[in-house]
């Protein structure tokens, strides 16, 4: 076990996978010599050369298109789209092309490629550098989508993504980049894409979250525990597919489902989790489920406003208290 920062775990996973499999290559904007805007690709070009670690021009569509073409031709590309907001420029290649490559060829081709991208709460860089667009990709048949909230997961999910036979979008939380956690660096930990992690158990209410919001949800759960409310916290980790079974297992005990996310509400992953609960295990719900998310507005740059934009531990705890008392009334 070793204490690593989130970005160091990403860096380590890339390093390890590139050592393990020479088909793995990395390219994107500033990923080479500069080592990425936040260090995730640091040192890779030095070890693996300018052929396997390439700085690209600012051409997101071509970056993802090349990832696809090279993945269909024997490589295992890991490309970086610096911020998820910029994925808007590559949606054709990601959604019309990569996601459908296996299906359209009826399985003759596979596209073992990874798109890494930063999303969500960030350093006040505003409306075009802060969006959590996970629902767009989670909605697409053929894509897998993961979003680690801990350094250990940052490594094991990225490894799983690299080894997956199809395209995987790995979303990273910029605000967690310097957060620390224990990582079992001696073990070759490869996560199972599609499996959630129970971060905290509890019988009062089921809180589901992912990415940076998980950290705030756990903080809220700690506050709730002080009030005697034991909340289960599930880190979804994989948003495509979503581990509905794990969520259901908890809701069966608690009767309460609260989803906390940094994306806006409509047509979101939170909507999907709640809709699935209502459709598939309606009778396990003892009260209306709840979605805690930002207001339906772009992300402002304003320091003060950003804090009230994203669900904070205090706000989460307050809403959960209400939710739990609702049951009390009903019972």
């Amino acid at each position: 076990m070793k204490s690593l920062k989130y970005w160091q775990s990403i860096n380590l996973a890339l390093l390890e996978e590139m050592r393990r499999d020479e088909r793995v290559i990395v390219f994107g904007e500033d990923v080479g010599l500069p080592g990425g805007p936040f260090g995730a690709t640091r040192g890779l070009q030095k070890e693996f050369g300018a052929g396997r670690v390439r700085d690209t021009p600012i051409s997101e569509a071509a970056i993802v298109g090349m990832a696809l073409g090279s993945s269909m031709s024997g490589l295992r590309p890991v490309v970086e789209i610096m911020f998820m907001d910029f994925i808007t420029l590559a949606m054709d290649q990601l959604v019309n092309q990569a996601a459908k490559a296996a299906y359209m060829s009826d399985g003759s081709y596979a596209a073992p490629m990874v798109v890494r991208t930063l999303a969500g709460t960030h350093l006040k860089s505003g409306p075009q550098h802060s969006q959590a667009l996970e629902a767009w990709v989670a909605a697409v048949p053929g894509l897998k989508v993961v979003w680690p909230s801990t350094p250990a997961d940052a490594r094991s999910l990225l490894k799983a993504a690299i080894r997956d036979p199809g395209p995987v979008v790995v979303i990273e939380s910029a605000s967690l980049y310097t957060s620390r956690g224990e990582v079992d660096v001696d073990a070759d930990e490869v996560a199972v894409i599609g499996a959630a992690a129970v971060r905290r158990s509890g019988d009062a209410v089921t809180l589901v979250s992912w990415g940076a919001a998980t950290v705030r949800t756990l903080a809220a759960a700690a506050m709730l525990a002080d009030d005697g409310i034991e909340a289960a916290v599930i880190d979804a980790r994989s948003l495509g597919p979503i581990d509905h079974a794990a969520i259901r297992a908890s809701v069966r005990r608690t009767g309460h489902l609260v989803v906390v996310q940094d994306a806006t509400g409509p047509c979101s992953v939170g909507s999907e989790i709640i809709a699935t609960a209502a459709s598939s295990y309606f009778d396990d719900l003892t009260a209306a489920p709840l979605l805690l998310c930002p207001p339906f507005a772009p992300v402002p740059s304003t320091p003060g406003l950003q804090d009230s934009y994203f669900p904070s531990p205090g706000a989460i705890a307050a809403q959960v208290r209400k939710q739990v008392s609702r049951r009390a009334e009903k019972e």
Partner: protein, 304 residues
């Protein structure tokens, strides 16, 4: 060329008579580009193409039966009958895929070129696209990267004068697609796309340069489609005379004319192509259709 021509004529006929349900974008009249370029390629080289890609796929080595099978939505088609005319793909013959999104095949071919280079092989990738794709940004993004990294790719633009119903003068501010190579220092040339020997020569030069590490090339082949944009196109945007003029430049007849004494051999080839296509059609029509279960198969790759 004969095989492409016969394949498309057959498809056209079958569709017109209601036997084939597929929508079709035919390349009749443009066969010299496919044949000339693919003649310069190896089976292990890789291509991407477009909605108008039957010719490229056949010239690259795609077999008639699974191609026709795909049009007929048969389980034995190249894509299990799931994807149709605009999506032929076949690893065995080096077809990464036709594509229904204008321009989208270009960066995919670029990725294939990257793989060739990175794996240290001497393979070459070719991106076929229409002149309409020149207006899509990703074409230019791809030129830049190809030049920067000296990737083994040949960009082959089939300039047939129209993008759907819009003439090139309305959609492109350049009379000359080859001109787009210059800013990047990419060697570019324009060629008579109805002259298969000229196309082949230009392609051979570009392909062998790419194979030998000299980097990308851009080839513009000027040609014309005899049929509408799609089967059923009212073609109000052009005159019958214009079409007639281009029919005069039939790439198949022109090849006959320049290869003296070849008339008999060509007749044989035509006959043979027709037979092959007919055999393929007969065979394929007996195949079972795509099964219902295929609907949800291969959404996710199971191995790679």
């Amino acid at each position: 060329m004969a095989r492409i021509r016969q394949f498309e004529i057959a498809a056209e006929r079958l569709q017109a008579s209601g036997i084939l349900e597929s929508s079709l974008h035919l390349s009749i009249g443009q066969e010299a580009v496919a044949a000339g370029v693919c003649d310069a390629l190896r089976r292990s080289d890789l291509i991407t193409t477009t909605h108008r890609g039957h010719g490229h796929c056949i010239a690259k080595g795609g077999e008639l039966a699974p191609m026709m099978g795909e049009l007929f939505a048969k389980g034995g088609g190249y894509c299990g009958g799931k994807s149709g005319s605009m999506h032929i793909a076949d690893p065995a013959s080096g077809i990464l895929g036709a594509n229904a999104i204008v321009g989208a095949g270009i960066p995919i071919a670029l990725g294939a070129a990257l793989a060739f280079q990175q794996r240290g092989t001497d393979g070459v990738a070719v991106a076929f696209f229409g002149e309409g794709a020149v207006a899509e940004g990703v074409f230019h993004e791809s030129l830049n990267i190809a030049a920067l990294w000296a990737l083994p790719i040949v960009f082959v633009c089939e300039n047939n004068g129209y993008a759907e119903m819009t003439p090139v003068s309305v959609h492109l501010a350049s009379a000359d697609v080859a001109a787009f190579g210059a800013p990047y220092g990419i060697p570019a040339s324009g060629v008579d796309g109805n002259d298969v020997l000229a196309v082949r020569q230009a392609a051979q030069q570009a392909v062998s340069a790419a194979r030998n590490g000299a980097g990308p090339a851009l080839l513009e082949a000027r040609t014309y489609r005899w049929r509408g944009h799609y089967q059923g196109d009212p073609e109000t945007y052009r005159t019958r005379e214009e079409v007639e003029q281009w029919r005069e430049r039939d790439p198949l007849r022109r090849l006959r004319a320049v290869l003296p004494g070849a008339a008999d051999r060509f007749d044989d080839l035509d006959q043979q192509a027709m037979r092959l296509v007919n055999t393929a059609v007969d065979e394929v029509r007996g195949w079972p259709g795509t099964e219902a279960a295929a609907l949800t198969e291969h959404v996710y790759a199971t191995s790679a």
